[in-house]
Each structure stands twice: as structure tokens, then as C-alpha cells.
Amino acid sequence: MPEEISVTAQTSEFELTHAKSAVFYGLYERKADLKHRTHYCPGCGHGVVHKLIAEAIEDMKLQDNTILVSPVGCSVFAYYYFDVGNVQVAHGRAPAAATGIKRACPDKIVISYQGDGDLAAIGTAEIIHAANRGEKFTVIFVNNAIYGMTGGQMAPTTLVGQKTTTSPWGRRPVNEGFPLHMCELLSTLEAPVYVERVALSDNKNIMKARRAIRKALEIQRSGLGFSFVEILSPCPTIWGMEPVDARRWVAEKLIPAFPLKAFRDAKPVLPPDTPPPIRPVPEVLEIAGESTHVARKSAHQFQEMKIKIAGFGGQGVLLLGQILAEMGMREGLEVSWLPSYGPEMRSGSAHCHVCLSEQRIGSPLISQPDVLIAMNEISLRKFAPSVSPSGLILYNSNTLPADFEAPPAHIACVPASQIADMLGSAKVANMVLLGALLEATGSMSPETAKRVIADKVKRVELLEMNEKALETGAQYVDKEAWAEAQPDGFPY
């Protein structure tokens, strides 16, 4: 290359005006070879958009303050290139992730970078709702009217008549619908502040795209609201064109179908808003002052107790879980309650997960419960094998089913439904089992249970029945329920 001028040979009469932005990494630490250059095809629009964003971030001095959310698609590797904060998210979910990031870090500049398959197909719901909520981040939407990464399938933005691998005779609106116009769609919403479509079709339009990206970031920096820039971009490889021809195709075909325009450029008028007061949970539940740390009575004081309660809908499965969780709250524990039930509210099977813990709870989902309360045989058979070997199973019956293969966990049979029926209502079976659970584990105080129930049950006779059920369950498990005695003298 005799014509090439090396960087070092510059004389002082020339000054550097355009070079790789410092917002890009010097070398791209990607798994593949060729770490000195991007993975994009020759003539790909993503590279140009990357450069415009990087330059804007650098010029606006936002490098240490920016979080880029990269999508699924060709631009999935944006985090290899941009030396900013990076998050890569599931297909189409960039606006949802960006919402969380921006709300948690309102001082950061959050950019959601998405393609048309990501934003306008699988992620349509996310972008529409993020825009509708007026989330204060910026979306850069690179539209090349096709799926690039997966090899050229029809996208929502594919033009009428455009041939793709999944529309080999051209897109037919009768069968596949019309191209989706995201800018037009989003600009029907009240909340967005800035919605503009630009294109990488020629020099002039590239500079307009540069201005639009800067404007969008400026709007975000000012905290004005949601900004959205759609960039019509060439995909020479998948379109099967030379890069120069692909750029021309953007001008000749894409722009007529997707007109370039600032669809929205105004601050929305929001009604006056008074945010609700933020109060601690115990105060909201009107149990403030009650939350005291109770000394556990048994030797089996726990770090964490994971309880699964299962039965038919209508047996009070979910309510029992709620009561346990609320008791934990009043006794100063961390708690979680996770219901899981089918569409049938009654006579379907229902179960819920309750975690009671001295520490913060990692996940409310329980795979190996310490305690299983099985209110029917189906639940016993289904969940007993998953109970921890040192755990406890409380089964709502006199005896185990004949052919039941007992797991290593200890099993107490408490005929709660029968006891409840004798007390006056089969509905208090869950309270019988609660009484049994508290007695068997010593995990929480029955007094707490009574206070929680008193807050929930207003009718005096029902309250008395519930309290009686608690006591009966405790007495029963104490005297009769153990399927086998424990050599160490502990109930389980």
C-alpha cells in the first residue's frame, strides 16, 4: 500500500480529527479470533450505528455513566465492543431490562440497542409498554427489514413483496400481514418524548442519524423521558447485495416504505402526580410494634424452614401459607409465600411454598421442602419424595395409604379433616394442621398464630372454632401422631 499513510508518520501540520472512539475497547475480548475488528459483515449498518453511538457517548462525556443493553441478534456482541456498562438480555426483553436498570439507577444513561426481529417481533409487548410508561431511557432500533443472525427469515418489518427464506415468493400481506411501522405505532402513545426515523442510505442521512442519536441521549440526560430512534440500515449479506448496492436499496426501497421523519419531538404533558407515601411493611399491615424476635422453644431452631402445603383448592391451602408467612413476619423472620394453583379455584389441586428464614431469602421457590403438609393423598404421593430426608411430613389422615412407599422423612398422620368436622366445620382442617406443625417443630409461637387468625376472622364463633382447631392439632400431634418414635427424643 504505497498510498497508505501510517499514523506515526504524521507531521505536526496535520491534526487528528476522526479516529476510533475511546468508548470502544482497544481489542475486543471475544471468543473468536480477529480481536482487532468487529464480527459484522462488510458494509453492515450496525458498525456505523455503533460508531455514531460511541462518538456521542464520548463527546457527551458519558462513558463512565452509560449502561448499554444489548439484544439477541447480530448486535448481541455489542458488549465486546463498547467500553461502558453492559447487560445482554433475553430476546426482545431489552426494554424490560432497561426499565429496571433505569429505575434502579436513574442517574445512568441507559441505552437499549435492538434489531427489528428483536424489537418488532418477539419484543413487541416490551417496547410498547416501556414507551407507554414513558420510561426515561433511549432505544436505538436498527431496522434492516429481515432477520440477519439466523440467516434471512422474514421479519415484521419485511417489505411487501420482499423475498426472504420464509417468504420465498415475496411477502404477501394476505398471508403475512403488512410491515410493522414501529415509529408510527409508538407515536400514537402519549408518553414518548422523542420518536424519529433516520436511515444510513447516504452521507447526508448518516449525519442526520448522528444528530438523532445525540438528541435522544441529550433528552435522556435531561431526564425528559422516552426517546426512540429507528435507523433503516443495510444488511448486504442477507439481502444478497454488494454493500454499495445495499445502501442504495435502503434509499430506493426502505425509505419509501418507512418515511424518514421526527414523529414526536415534544415533552408530554403529564397530569399532576402525588406519589403515595412509602411506609415499612409492618406499618402497612398494621402490625407495627408486634414484630419481635421470638426465642424458638425447641432445639430445632432453624436458619431457614421451607414449607410446602398441598391439597385440593378450597381446603385452605393458600390461606394456611399466608398465615404462616404473616406469623413469620410478626416474629421478625424473613418470609416468602408463593402460591401455585391451577385455573380451578375449587376442586383443582393447589399448593404453595412458604419460606421462613433468619436470613434474606434467595428464592421463594422450594424444590426440597423441610416440611410438607399434605392435605390429600394425591399431594402426599406427588410431593413426599421431594421432602428433605431429615424433614417432616404432616398427612391429613389416620393412616398412610397401604401401598405407600415412605420416604426417609418423618411422617405424622393427623386426621385433620375429621377433627375439624367434629369441631363443627371441615374448613378448619388447615388450622388443625397448623397447630400440629407448630407443636411438632416448635418453629413459631401458637400465640402469634392466634393473633394472626384474630385479625383475619371477625366472627366470634368462627374465631373460637379456629383457636380450638389449633389447640386440638397441637395436642393430637403431641400424643398420637408419630408414625415412629425418634431415638434422640426430638419429634423430628
Partner: protein, 91 residues
Amino acid sequence: MASGPYGKVSISVEECKGCGLCVESCPPQCLHLAPELSAYGVHPASYDGTGCTGCGICFYCCPEPGAIVVYKLRTPHPAMNQTRGEHAPAL
């Protein structure tokens, strides 16, 4: 066609993918694709050596972050020297 040493452009053969967008975009048409192949099997873009005005449009049209570096002749008056980033072509 502009002439004279107003600007210079340097193209990294290692990073150029030979797409030709800079050649197409260059207003004074002072870039071309080299006849010889690079190690990556493409004809990389190359500067003729004269005619560059330092406008920077090739930089913005090039998809590769570091493939093109543009220089501009310092003006005799320091006040006319702009800092980097403010050299976007006025189009």
C-alpha cells in the same frame, strides 16, 4: 474536485473489510479499492495520496470502528482549530 493537502486519510489494512462504502461516499473521490488482496482476502480501501479535504465523511460511512483515521491540516489561526468530535461534516 478538491485538491491540495487539506486533509489526510489513513486506512488500516488489518481492519478494512473492503466493503467500498468509503470509496462510494468520498466527496472528492480520492479513495479506491486496492487491486491487491489483503491477508483477509479482500481488496482494502486505499487513499490516492492527493485530494483529501479531511471532511471525515468516509469515517462515518465506514462500519468498522478503527479502520479509517482522518487528519485535517492545521489552519494558520489557532482559533480556527476545532477539537475532535466537532468535525462532523456539515451536510
